[in-house]
């Protein structure tokens, strides 16, 4: 899987359909009116680009927060803190629309940029229950960069279309053994108060996996003053 996904990114494989505008925006009178694609972005408008799952740690929050990286903004009570090895070119931050990072039927919240390391620390929201555990099974979840868009505009219908395109290109889940190793590296579930503590935990992973972004990590780990 790892080799195949990396190949997708490196070879620039992708169908013309994947470079089409945001499928959720509907017909357009003005050919540019709803395009979020900036100059030169056509080359990265393809799925794939997630090479490896390096780290996975479940978490639970006492206080949920809004997942602002998709349009419905569901509440996040639990999920996974992950570290992904990705194509740094696809992860490169820009002001115009970026390739959205998907995991199964969810968008990922990016904590860092992967600058200098190609490693992204991300949050994957997932419901959890004592009876069934986490709704998302990492061993059955595909990860990929999709069409450039603003995550805050991405809804379930958009994700479904992106997932279909990704599937057509053969994007699939990581090998079960890789997931098992990532979970083992992550360890026991984090029991945290809120998203602030979650971000601080994520900052620790930036220091560990993406040390080139130490400044970012330190800026998250600054002293707390009257936390909200």
């Amino acid at each position: 899987m790892r080799t195949f996904l990396a190949g997708l990114a490196l070879l620039g494989l992708g169908s013309p359909a994947l470079t089409a505008p945001d499928p959720g925006t509907g017909p357009r009178a003005d050919p540019r009116a709803d395009s979020e694609t900036a100059p030169g972005q056509e080359a990265v408008a393809r799925p794939g680009g997630v090479a490896e799952l390096l780290f996975a740690r479940p978490f639970h929050l006492d206080e949920p927060y809004r997942h602002t990286w998709r349009a419905e903004q569901p509440l996040v009570h639990s999920g996974y803190l992950l570290v992904l090895e990705v194509d740094e070119g696809l992860a490169r931050p820009r002001q115009t629309a970026e390739p959205v990072l998907f995991a199964g039927r969810q968008t990922l919240e990016r904590i860092n940029t992967g600058r200098g390391s190609g490693r992204l620390v991300v949050v994957l929201p997932s419901a959890w229950s004592t009876e069934q555990g986490f709704e998302v099974d990492l061993a059955e979840t595909a990860f990929w960069f999709g069409t450039p868009a603003l995550p805050e505009r991405v809804d379930a219908a958009h994700i479904a279309k992106e997932a279909k395109l990704a599937l057509e290109l053969g994007v699939g889940a990581f090998e079960p053994e890789a997931v098992k190793q990532a979970l083992a590296r992550g360890g026991l579930a984090l029991e945290l108060r809120d998203s602030g503590e979650l971000r601080r935990a994520a900052a620790g992973r930036i220091l560990e996996f993406a040390p080139a972004e130490e400044e970012l990590a330190r800026s998250i780990l600054v002293p707390l003053v009257r936390p909200r």
């Binding site: 395009s35 927060y65 002001q95 629309a97 600058r115 400044e215 800026s219 998250i220 002293p223 009257r226």
Partner: protein, 683 residues
């Protein structure tokens, strides 16, 4: 203090008003005359421009139009430069004390102002003390040579503010030591805050909020934070949720301000407690954050966010640095707030290109309906607006170095903060005048900036903004438009084909002012050649022909990128502006006195050729200048404004865009407001 209605006591020329100002016995018997005196020589007619502000080290002159003071022609007078006084101070303290040590005796010559231009100071007048932006001075012509301001004397200053200002060098640090602290209130509430070390003695200070862009960090704006704090502002740069998009970012702008207000008693051991003037805020955002601050302000306007600490009236300025344009105007517009846009032509991220609406940052300037200003710098990249990564995100020739970019930022943001948060009208010159005419040292003489400026709508009478009347022959004011020009087209300022390559079928090439169909900025474009000069004349409505009580003529113009004529000219363009009265008398001023239209930045891409987006520039000509030296022009009865292009009036040929022709009226506000023409209202 409300402005007195001067028109009733003004003669044919409004700039020679006679006002009763002082309560001293002598002054009460006969009014002291107040006219403009301080300014700078111009190479051509009107030979002299009266200005409000001077940069440090710049010479100060006076110019006396003998037609305004005919009774003094042939007389010797003493010229005094006096530390500015209020009317009350003048009435209680009429003695004249020249800050230069002694006054200067001059004889007022007949004929023209050219013979009455005199250097007052080579650039040695002291700048401001403390954290003030400028030092004010009055000028007195002591006609009776008695060393006191009296009834027969002439004053530039007093009511309405000083005669002129010497501003501080705005890119240099201020008088306060700045303190920097970094802390967090939790998720997306980390803040990097700067304040003066002596804040305990300074009372309440205006708050400047900085919202970073995507992939940027809140700690990357220390070059602005330290600078503005040293000038007495509190600056808070915060964690910004830009990853999801500008809508999410706008919320973190708002929540971070609320957190700062809630936690001020605990931050820095309470150093800020009680010192944040939440009613005087400026919001500065970069890229997605630049769009986010506009969206945040729109949330307040639309009641989509409620704060226990502030509302939209507390935001005095919104400034976007290279903003994205993801959002359509219905949900993201600056409304009537004072708005500023800083943008660079070499930006390789928010490129300003014609190929995507998201990168057409000029659109936000067009959406603003209040007072607004634009600073556009050739060669400026996206990454040099912050102080983080060593990557400029730039493309094109003559890239501006980071140090120079930060110098420009420091200068213009101090000017903006002083103008809109402290009502220091002296700072307005950085926006109202063209860059060629007035600017801080940028570090290199070759830097090219263009500026646009438009006062608040209540201060304007719009002759033609091309928005409401689709016919070229009819102005927005409903009057007739007469023109003679090659290939003239009135239309929407949108580059339809998404490329900058010139094609005859797309006359609005290079116009990136209307990103979405809901954005609708219109104007006119045309050509002129040596054998085919162009004119564009707009008639004034009969009800608006008396301009004696008005201040200035404003318009904006640009060159057309990659047009064959633009390529042939390969330089700046100038032209003439004429006022004509109903009796047929006219007066023409050439724009090169104030500024010239730049050739668009020589960046390639987006089709064949070289040249990036069209660079509009606002040119503001005081109406009084048209009547200089006894010009036989009746400002009480102006029939038309005419733009004249061709060899007789400047450049031989050119391809130009023209828009927003308006008359600036006297401000209705008091002279302590941020009304832009505090100086001008004295005319």
């Amino acid at each position: 203090m409300p402005l007195a209605p001067p028109a009733a006591r003004c003669g044919r020329l409004a700039f020679a008003c006679v006002l009763t100002l002082f309560a001293t016995p002598a002054a009460a018997q006969s009014p002291t005359r107040r006219i403009e005196l301080a300014g700078e020589s111009l190479p051509g007619f009107p030979h002299f421009q009266y200005v409000r502000s001077f940069l440090p080290d710049n010479p100060v002159e006076i110019g006396i139009d003998p037609h305004e003071l005919p009774h003094l022609v042939g007389s010797e007078v003493d010229v005094y430069v006096v530390a500015a006084r209020t009317p009350l101070e003048w009435s209680s303290q009429p003695e004249l004390i020249d800050v230069r040590g002694q006054p200067q005796r001059i004889e007022i010559a007949p004929r023209t102002i050219v013979d009455n231009r005199t250097s007052l100071d080579p650039g040695t007048l002291p700048g401001p003390e403390g954290q003030a932006f400028a030092a004010g001075y009055d000028i007195v012509l002591d006609v009776d040579l008695d060393g006191e301001l009296g009834a027969v004397d002439v004053l530039d200053g007093g009511r309405g503010g000083p005669g002129f200002f010497v501003v501080r060098q705005p890119f240099l640090p201020g008088p306060h030591e700045s303190v920097e602290i970094t802390y967090s209130g939790g998720s997306l509430l980390a803040q990097n805050t700067f304040y003066p070390a002596d804040i305990a003695e300074l009372g309440e200070l205006p708050l400047i909020v900085i919202s970073h862009g995507n992939g940027h960090e809140y700690t990357w704006y220390d070059h602005l934070g330290r600078h503005l704090a040293s000038h007495g502002f509190i600056v808070m740069s915060h964690e910004n949720n830009t990853g999801p998009g500008p809508n999410a970012a706008s919320l973190t702008t708002l929540t971070n301000i609320d957190y700062l207000m809630d936690a001020q008693g605990d931050i820095a051991d309470g150093a800020l407690d009680g010192h944040i003037d939440i009613h005087r805020m400026a919001w500065i955002g970069h890229s997605r954050g630049g769009e986010g601050v506009v969206r945040a302000y729109t949330r307040l306007l639309l009641d989509q966010y409620s704060s226990p600490h502030f509302d939209e009236d507390d935001v005095r300025l919104v400034s976007s640095m290279a903003p994205t344009v993801f959002l359509k105007p219905v949900g993201s517009f600056p409304g009537d707030v004072n708005y500023h846009l800083l943008f660079g032509s070499a930006d390789s991220d928010v490129t300003g290109g014609a190929d995507s609406p998201v990168v057409q940052a000029f659109t936000y300037y067009e959406r603003a309906s209040g007072a607004k200003q634009l600073t556009y710098m050739q060669g400026l990249g996206h990454g040099w607006m912050h102080n983080g990564l060593n990557e400029c995100f730039c493309e094109g020739p003559d890239i501006v170095k980071r140090g120079h970019a930060h110098r420009i930022q420091r200068a213009y943001y101090l000017a903006l903060a002083s103008l809109y948060l402290r009502d220091e009208v002296s700072a307005l010159d950085f926006f109202e005048r063209t860059f060629e005419d007035f600017h801080p040292p940028t570090g290199l003489d070759t830097h090219v900036l263009t500026t646009e400026y438009r006062p608040a709508p209540e201060e304007l009478f719009v002759l033609d903004d091309f928005e409401t009347e689709p016919s070229v022959a009819l102005s927005s004011a409903g009057t007739s438009v007469v023109y003679e020009a090659l290939n003239l087209v009135e239309g929407r300022f949108e580059d339809v084909d998404g490329k900058f390559k010139w094609k005859d079928e797309w006359p609005m090439n290079g116009m990136t002012r209307s990103a979405y169909s809901e954005d609708s900025q219109h104007g006119v474009v045309f050509d002129f050649e040596p054998e085919a000069p162009a004119t564009f004349e707009v008639r004034l409505p009969k009800s608006e022909r008396d301009l004696t009580d008005d201040v200035a003529l404003l318009f904006r113009a640009c060159q057309g990128t990659r047009h064959p004529i633009t390529d042939l000219v390969d330089g700046r363009i100038t032209f003439g502006v004429t006022l004509r009265d109903t009796a047929g008398a006219s007066s023409t001023i050439l724009t090169d006195n104030y500024g010239s239209l730049t050739r668009p930045y020589l960046r390639d891409g987006l089709g064949a050729g070289v040249g990036w987006a069209n660079e509009f520039m606002t040119i503001r000509i005081p109406l009084a200048d048209f009547g200089r030296d006894g010009a036989r022009l009746d400002l009480q009865s102006i029939e038309a404004v005419r733009f004249e292009f061709g060899p007789r009036h400047g450049s031989e040929r050119g391809r130009v865009g023209l828009d927003d022709i308006a008359i600036q009226r006297r401000a209705a506000k008091s002279d302590v407001s941020i009304a832009p023409n505090t100086k001008a209202v004295q005319r």
